[in-house]
Subunit: 112 residues, 2 copies
Amino acid sequence: MPTSKVRTYSLISHEAVHLISNLIKVARKERQYTAQEVAERAGISRGLLQRIEKGDLKCSIGAVFEVAAIVGVKLFDAEATTLMKHILHIEEKLALLPKSVHKRTKVVDDDF
Amino acid sequence: MPTSKVRTYSLISHEAVHLISNLIKVARKERQYTAQEVAERAGISRGLLQRIEKGDLKCSIGAVFEVAAIVGVKLFDAEATTLMKHILHIEEKLALLPKSVHKRTKVVDDDF
DNA sequence: CACTTATGATCCATACATAGATCATAAAAT
DNA sequence: ATTTTATGATCTATGTATGGATCATAAGTG
């Protein structure tokens, strides 16, 4: 066997994705959508939707967000999260920051 | 050319991912982290980090969330979002819902 | 009850995301 | 100024995520 790569993720990532997946699953059932329906509307396969609803970390973020939007889960809408409020100035903030990060190569020459 | 598949995404998905990517980029620079550093810590390539910071929808959600955690972007932490509050009962909620969604196959037989 | 449909799981083939390298430019340091 | 380092872009090879099918079971329907 050609030794497949096993990526490891932090707990917080697992939890976050698990959370989203549960939100999606609940929302879909509340709205009485069939897995097949949602998959078609999202332009993905039913199999992928299954993995998304299971919290598979390897699914593309686009697919996950697309499904979330379809079943009505507001992840980053202004009403749903405070995140959006901080965002408004993010582009400007980015412009002000230095373009690249340079590390000190020499140790600080503390003379004492 | 073997006609590559072009997936289409809704505006909201684009915006959400774009938002996250900007948050990540700003956070990384504020903390003076090199792209190389962050990539290594996340266990991904610098190239992938570039795509993440660009808002590429095809990156895996695990990689994106991992990087976000490393640079200190709180996407779904209790303090950062109201989402977490709704979540607490999500598992119970899921348990109460019907296990599968069945569609009406016959049209409602409205007799008039 | 019988019947239908949804879901979950598994397998395979292939399109594609990713790692890794290289190069050019830009920005910071000295 | 020179030198060093970070970033952005591009290319290739390969591991793998995804689509599509199938099957078994569960869960509604009538």
